[in-house]
Symmetry: D2
Subunit: 336 residues, 4 copies
């Protein structure tokens, strides 16, 4: 049994994480934190957890959390995460960090895209990126995992095999991504108010979404080829799910079948990547840790289509997959 804590337990990724961990036979949730006043019961914040978990959300310092938990899932915002993680590691706990703080390898790139000085730059460049399909063996022994972003996973998984196999031009990639609204978090704001985004589709942060450098860096690392992307995120009126439509230029005459084979061979033994022939909808993988991928050859292009649940394979499911690897459990425990 491994004792786990969740920092920043008021949001959508946290409640999803709690639900997965409640099904995990080897994990015991021992602490939840937030800055909410009065240490509310978790069911007061997340009514779906009524009767499931008898814990309060407490405003605890990292040192206290470390005494209660062997593994900490850190769901704090970027900036805040990297201020706390060093203390947790120093106290001997392992950490799966949901923020972007440890995903990039370069503090200057981080500062450029996130607009703040990195609080813990010395760990950049050697923190393991928690995508088991690419970095499984480095995840197992790691003390700190940078859990991937939701959009990034939906782009990295389909792209890496084709870039690595040399089938597509890594410098000419367009990612048109569509996400459900939980991806925008649980803090009330006008743009995610129900009547604002219901019955509407819109794009946002065109050309400047922070997942751009993350996609480029990890596809480059995973494939061995420097990669450049155009990334356009869209907000879709649904709770969860991401569909990415990715336009690639083949390096030569590549058939749909060849591209599909490259994907299949790459993910042959992967429990959570499904290479399919039909066009997947985001609902097919909703509520699961699967990423569905297919490809079409159209007028000299290869179009990759990938779907996943932004809260599970795009966040909390991936985190538990990493947790399972870090603590020697079966990788699929609590995830099927």
């Amino acid at each position: 049994m491994t004792r786990v804590a969740i920092l920043g337990a008021t949001g959508y990724t946290a409640v999803e994480l709690i639900k997965i961990l409640l099904r995990h036979p080897e994990a015991e949730i021992t602490a939840l934190t937030s800055r909410s006043e009065g240490s509310p019961h978790v069911a007061a914040i997340h009514p779906s957890l009524a009767g499931r978990l008898d814990l309060r959300l407490e405003d605890l310092p990292p040192e206290v959390v470390a005494t209660r938990a062997d593994c900490v899932f850190c769901c704090l915002p970027h900036g805040a995460a990297a201020s706390v993680v060093p203390k947790l590691l120093a106290a001997g706990t392992k950490v799966v960090d949901f923020s972007a703080d440890y995903r990039l390898s370069n503090a200057a790139v981080y500062e450029d895209w996130y607009g703040l000085k990195h609080p813990d730059p010395s760990r950049l460049g050697h923190t393991v990126y928690g995508l088991p399909e690419l970095f499984r063996e480095r995840i197992r022994p790691a003390k700190l995992i940078a859990n991937p972003g939701c959009y990034t996973t939906s782009a990295i998984l389909p792209l890496t095999p084709l870039v690595k196999a040399g089938l597509i031009d890594p410098s000419n990639i367009i990612i048109d991504a569509k996400s459900g609204v939980t991806g925008a978090g649980r803090t009330p704001k006008l743009t995610t108010l129900y009547p604002e985004c219901n019955e509407s589709i819109s794009c946002y942060n065109v050309g400047r979404h922070r997942h751009t450098p993350e996609i480029e860096e990890i596809v480059s690392a995973g494939s061995g080829h420097a990669t450049n992307v155009i990334f356009t995120p869209h907000l879709v009126p649904m709770d969860r799910g991401i569909l990415s439509t990715i336009y690639c230029v083949p390096t030569g005459p590549v058939t749909e079948g060849q591209a599909l084979t490259a994907l299949r061979e790459f993910y042959d033994d992967e429990p959570f990547v499904r290479v399919v022939e039909h066009l997947p909808g985001s609902k097919d993988s909703s509520g699961t840790n699967f990423c569905d991928i297919t490809v079409r050859a159209v007028r000299g292009r290869l179009i990759l289509i990938s779907c996943l649940d932004n809260l599970i394979k795009g966040a909390s499911g991936a985190a538990v997959q990493n947790f399972n690897l870090m603590f020697g459990y079966n990788e699929t425990t609590a995830l099927l």
Copy 2:
């Protein structure tokens, strides 16, 4: 041509009102107010109005508004409205007030349900309630109109004819009402965040929603019989629309046909009440100023079903209907 102003122009009822008024050949919008910093252009607040109206939202005192407008639509919250309305009236403008401030006739009842001392109690008891189907002739000469609430209109219109005709017991009425999310306003809050209310139905303010005394008072006034209701509002994952299912006890053996006839006779000449035989869905009247009503006799009860668009017949359409009456225009102008 009548010059009109809208106070509190940032919300959903205001933008709907603007769209209706833009189609009105005799109305010219001359001022919009809000406390937003920097006097933003109306299209910056409501992008759907881009290219439609070249006005800024200004923080104007009522005295200045009164110099620009012959009629003011006041979309301010309760309490705030009654602090401003006396000044507008004193300056000679007519006012259609969207708040609850002038809907009830008794300051003590107001204080009881709204939790604040009424700022302008002397006008209670003789302000005209702006439901043309009941009070048309009193609306025409009025200087101040209390525009009805959305839920209340959906309950008053089906109930009044049957109570007045003595067909149902006015002391034993259950109103189970369901509303789209725009009814909750445009101020960001957790309960109306997209992922909180999407894919969910819930009830709220059970037994203590503020439309309760308004329904009772107006049905009593319109029918001549003291009325008591149980009123339960529900939040439905859709933008707009209200469906009220109203359970009544007939005073004797009343057939479905008799009840339907009573409704039809009452609303025979009304341009915006449609007494129908089928079961209406809220979408049938969405985007219109219609209220659809039908009735079913079930196991000794009469069940009334009514639908309307909470932003139009439940707010801004009704307001323009009142405006048309007050200024001598055809009652349906801009509303069909």
Copy 3:
């Protein structure tokens, strides 16, 4: 390990059932049937099951199904179910039937509400109704279980304790129920086409929905008091979830606290009924086997509010709960 088969595996309850059974350590799905041409792979019908289950949907006679399975979940329509179930039972398999065919005890009542002569009337009156909270000990040894309807469970669970305790008048109950669209099945029809029911709420089958006699019979059986209800179902633009708002007349001066206590005592040890103090939304129990219940005292009435997932506690979760009881497994297996 128990071998299970699903008859009529193309619908929403079937795919939900498959997902639950895939998590069940003691159940092995051995056969799926449908009349689809060409024996399609299950993932061609339900793409969310890609890579999860390698079975085809076959058009199999009950005798063949019986050789492959120890338990059959029958998801056929009413009428069709009772034509097949006798053969399955004769062949020695146990059956959980999702249809209404064995829920009522009287063939004349069945014929009256369902408009057809019952194909297997001799089993009516002594088939066990599969609501563990009321009939657990009778479910354990049963060979055939009539799995409850979705609306009915959402009404029976809150009503039975209060009727049994004599706190409410069993002859004066109004159930205003709201359901997501999966409740209407997966056969394409105009009324459940996306643009017809999206952004709309409507009621249907007012006074003549077939769950009416089922609610009355089971609350009567469970409480010992003859019960009469008015039942009005509504269609809500969401995939899943039911919220029932139930208006009751107390038999005497009953406080909210007393009603809550009666509910709590009745469900004290139940793993899947959560008596809560807050107003639950249907989303709180979405994706789970929980039924959430609370009560409010309003102006001399008691208003019960209950929520559940129509596909889980209202169908497939309840079926697996029954399966667990019938085969001696822990009742919560695969359901938490």
Copy 4:
């Protein structure tokens, strides 16, 4: 006053057209047709029209329709339209055809994409394409108008000015388009059943959607440059609205400002194209005849974003705009 008829009046474009025409002071609807049995009243098919229009849907031959109407809006499917249109024209009525039958100029291309021999090939190549922003002067005197497709309008309007100005490469254009579900029509089918497409985003007809050749032909005709596109349509869980994200390669160093200026100059006097600086959401133009367009320069690309209501500017609003031009009415009548 012009007498108008609508052929194929059961669908979503037809009901939208009726609503627009009811606001048109110079149009009188005199006939509606469908093959529905029993000549149902229009309000039985479209309950939102209760009390608005007292006509039945009749199964009328074109010769009879022609005696009743000066203008026929033909909402029949492709193939069916071109079988009827010649008879209407022969009888002297003008026709606005909603189908694809007269949009392409080449019968072989038509046969290739639509899979059937064109019933009226002699009119191809000189029928006017009804996009007033490009072909206004040819529309005015036309007897037959090919009303544009919804996706095509959302692509043609942003692309044409930039291709014409030589700012982008016409052979390297990627259109990633997202549409609400009404675009798929009102015939019940599994893919547009509520629970299938709600809470999901998916793409379909990748590389083989029939709007592809239409976009290419019209942008080529409007700009004078042969154009090739990759077009990927997506289905979004909302009723109406299209957002197209269009990835272009500039022909040289083109700034965002230059591209915006080119769009503004092209559409300077257009009443229904709004070139905006913010990122529009599809809801901004929902329920209107506007098309909103903006552009972003990102990493050496130009990304065009356009939004419109697929039922209005993408179908019935455009049709009335054409009607206004053909009959000499103010172009914006009934459309603002």
